[in-house]
Symmetry: C2
Subunit: 181 residues, 2 copies
Amino acid sequence: MTTTGYALLGLLALRPWTTYELAQQVRRSLSWFWPRTERKLYDEPKRLVAAGYATAREEFTGKRKRTVYEITDSGRMALRDWLALPSAPPAMENEAMVRVFFADGGDVESLRATLAAMADGARARLAELEAMEGGEYPFPERRHISRLAMRLQQQQEQTMIDWATWASAEVARWDATAGPR
Amino acid sequence: MTTTGYALLGLLALRPWTTYELAQQVRRSLSWFWPRTERKLYDEPKRLVAAGYATAREEFTGKRKRTVYEITDSGRMALRDWLALPSAPPAMENEAMVRVFFADGGDVESLRATLAAMADGARARLAELEAMEGGEYPFPERRHISRLAMRLQQQQEQTMIDWATWASAEVARWDATAGPR
DNA sequence: GGATGAATACTGCCGTTGGCAGTAAGTAGA
DNA sequence: TCTACTTACTGCCAACGGCAGTATTCATCC
């Protein structure tokens, strides 16, 4: 079982879902700190069933079949055990920072554009998070936990904005990527 | 060509490296924002050579062979072009946050332990970054760019520490993961 | 001088993941 | 009825992670 498996098990602990709903829900919440492609979310629940952590049942909308997954008692126990284990350190994948780090291999305009895009992206994500906080939440009984997660994300986006603003100001004083005037 | 390929091309733009040195250097710098396993770093330069962006030459230490990679003019041009392209949004993989997000499926002690470990980890990484800043740097002419990257990393670790401290205080007021007292 | 352990310099293997494309049925509105 | 969007998936392949294994060189201790 991978972290992705336990992450989906965590969602199944809240209520039964179809894979499609699971994918939507992952995109809204989990993907902020555990991003996985939709493709994976169609394979993983099958493995949960194979491990005895979930059951699958087929439903029909006319001719179209859909699979609804539900957690088992064994799944809840496995989740509880997993939650007590130590975690791998966080990993940040930031293509824009690769461009910043090797900026002296290109034009100073490229660096300025990269920094501006970083700030814009962070502002957009922060706005999205704030919209989510304002909107209704499907599990009001877990709002206190959701708020913990949301807060870290907001603060990280804010950190990114602050840094990009500072970095842009630094770079504004450079003639070229070779360095300060 | 992948981002990983351009990242290594960026390092080759600084000086020629053996794969082993490349791996060390990636671990010290790049891996903060573009983490890749050592294994990958032995395959990727071969692809750079195939693309005409680098050359490989074999050297010997006694019987032991090693491969030294060097960037070509074509490689420098490719890097310059790539640096002007827009970047993918950042992705954060944080297993500990998955545990926080599903904390209501486990004991409140598990949550407290996860939060404490997050703070400890962030403090350790921050100390490492500060040690790096104090130590000597192999490319003094690019210290101004290196500082930009280092600063973001430091601020993100600090954000993590601040958040974990706040979250621990919140959770201290809970009897169980079910919520505030 | 010989043993030992760390550093150097890789390769093989396999399971996980990402990303794109493709298929097909249901649904809301013009 | 046509169209576009949503629902509900599957196939394929390249990228990637993680572990294990091989072989040589180098520094240190006894």
